[in-house]
């Protein structure tokens, strides 16, 4: 995803070029450049305050970058042509609480310039997509938290944009509703919509996104598929987690002598190939250690973030 620049229409849905945004002394976005291809689902993964939402708001024109540019299909992000292509689902429940779901969709559809049958069809599609058809005429404030979240997403999709920006759409929802939201996102992805999905839950990024940008302190510190990110940080290395019966022996000393660490009775050994497990088991048997349990684990995005920043993703 290299930086590019173009002045006219383009087939590239989103080009972010060296965007910087400061709020006083704080640099929220510090020179981010990204290019998102068509039909991609890009995850922006980072802790709270990393700059994800500011970047999203720059894309939808709600934040004016101090420098750099954002182009949507080659058009400036704040141009009418770009806005037509963008759908934004903000983190907040940006709805009219005293209107019904259908009325909300009608209002936001009209704000997007939809009228008549096009609007009616769009509302029906949104209600079906969000599984809210049976509650379409309920006043928003009477809906459950999960339903409101789904309606919030539907309101951002009413004009069927080619790019949708989902800013932490699962904040504060129960697991069942979260799954429903995942299904909605997957349906969009399967439909060919280009998605930018911000989250600080690595499970969500792993499940939904084909590419992930890890954002910290306003910068993209790593970019790629999950496998690419893990490989960039850890190579082919995996972790062997070996639970030992350490009553009779000095398990800590034995683990250290084999290049591992012992935490809560579990020995962690980095391995490059699964075949190394056999030699570890042999050594344990030879030294009289009783192995109770053994797991081979590939590093995940959490591990990548920890490796890159020295901090936990949810700190």
């Amino acid at each position: 995803m290299a930086t590019t620049s173009s002045e006219g229409p383009s087939s590239i849905p989103l080009q972010i070029d060296s965007v910087v945004k400061r709020f006083g002394e704080v640099t929220a976005v510090d020179g981010i450049s990204l290019e998102v291809p068509e039909r991609a689902c890009l995850g922006l993964l980072g802790p709270n305050g990393a700059g994800k939402s500011t970047l999203i708001r720059s894309i939808v024109g709600r934040v004016r970058p101090d420098s750099g540019s954002v182009r949507v299909f080659g058009r400036p992000a704040d141009s009418p042509a770009a806005r037509k292509e963008l759908g934004w689902v903000p983190q907040e429940l940006a709805l009219y609480p005293l209107l019904t779901g259908r009325e909300n969709l009608d209002a936001f559809g009209r704000y997007q310039g939809l009228r008549g049958k096009t609007l009616r069809d769009a509302i029906e599609w949104c209600l079906e997509w969000a599984a809210l058809a049976d509650r379409a005429d309920s006043i928003v404030k009477t809906l459950s938290g999960g339903m409101r979240r789904r309606l919030n997403m539907a309101a951002g999709m009413i004009h069927r944009p080619r790019i949708v920006l989902l800013d932490e759409p699962t904040v504060g929802v129960d697991p069942q509703s979260r799954n429903r939201i995942f299904e909605m996102v997957e349906a969009l992805r399967d439909d060919g919509t280009t998605i930018i999905y911000t989250t600080h839950y690595m499970e969500e990024a792993e499940r939904l996104c084909d590419r992930i940008a890890i954002v910290d302190h306003g910068r993209v510190i790593a970019l790629g598929s999950k496998e690419e990110l893990v490989t960039q940080s850890f190579g082919t290395r995996s972790d062997v987690l070996m639970r030992l019966d350490s009553e009779a022996h000095d398990a800590a000393a034995w683990t250290a002598s084999r290049g591992g660490t012992l935490q809560d009775g579990v020995a962690h050994f980095p391995v490059d190939r699964p075949s190394e497990i056999a030699s570890l088991l042999e050594a344990a048997a030879r030294d009289g250690l009783n192995v109770i349990d053994l797991v081979l684990r590939r590093p995940n995005l959490e591990s990548v973030f920890l490796q890159l920043t020295g901090r936990d993703l949810r700190q």
Binding site: G61, R62, R83, P90, L93, L95, Y96, F108, Y111
Partner: protein, 433 residues
Amino acid sequence: MIATIVRNGFRALRRDRGAWILSFILPVAFFSIFAFVFAGMGGNSTPRVNVLVVDEDRSASSERLVRGLRQEGSLVATTRPEVKTGEPTPPEYTAATAVAAVKSGTAPVALIIPAGFGANPISFTPVTGRKAIRLLHDSSNPVAAQMVAGLLQKVVMTSMSDSMADLGMRYFAQASGGLTPQQRQKVDSSLAQMRDYTARRDQQSNPPAAAGDNNASGLVAVEMHDVVGENKRSPMIAFYAAGIGVMFLLFTASAAGGTLLDEAESGALDRILSARVSMTTLLAGKMTYSMLLACSQLTLMFLWGAAVFHLDLFTHLPGFIVMTVATSFAVASFGMLLASVSHTRAQQAAVATLIILTMSAIGGSMFPRFLMPEAMKKVGLLTFNAWAIDGYTKVFWRDEPVSHLAPQVAVLLGSGVVIFLIARRFARRWESV
């Protein structure tokens, strides 16, 4: 435990600017406004009543009466319209122009001293055929007519004391069988001295002290004529409908404008502005909604007035529509401005309450402006309330044509446009940061 609760309460109050305003600023502001209106801030600013005087008699008595009226401290008596710089002196009021002036609200009262008044200006008893002074008044200001009627009797006593003495002597002569020539000579001499004293006193610049109590003993005959509301069944209904209506309109407009802050806080504003809606379009939409709501409110208010209080709405429909549209436009812009300068809904509500109640107090929604001191009347013109009430009064009370609403409509629409532009300027903070 109680101390903790109390301490927490004060801590929260200290940080809540809106609560501060409502708790401490608003009461003091209101107290000050009403103290100023009723007590004149400790100064001698009792409201003076404008009186137009038409002297059809042109006798010595009537001229003395006119001079006395001019020198009466509680009245502003004029015999001709104000001379404008660079223009010729306008002619004196006639009976017809005085009637027109009262009807148009130029003055609440006019006095017409009829020809023949000087022949028999005063009487201690009712006399048939005596020429009565005509007091033309606008009953939307009932206080002014009563005040002038009372002061007229006082002025007669002070400015026409020689006539009173002369009359007294004539009564005495009738009752006693007549004066001797010597007595008659002495009385005539005394009356001449009295006339001389009165004339000299009239030359002095200092007017007599303002009336303390009205003596309506009927020394001069007075005929009261209600020239504006004589055929109206409910003289003050239009005034109250407009006054109360505008005050609540301001509250409604404030609440309608406040939805902008609700949307800003919920994030809906961001979403709307990220769609194909500009800030100007959004503000214009909000203002149109607010204006339509205000029109509906005023229409309901006046329909209710027509149904229950016999307000003559339907024969004044064009003027009502013009004033309602202009007033609604102005108050809607006010709602937009309040929302755009406020940072939170709570702040907006507090500021709105303060401003609306203040505007309503000095603008005549709570207390008629014609009863206020002159300075307050002028300050009141800085409010929508005053212009709206004046306009509705012209329509419903004075039966003036729509074209006469031009000043009120111009001020309301003009200020509405200016305020909207200011609101738009402040609303830039909601655009991209």
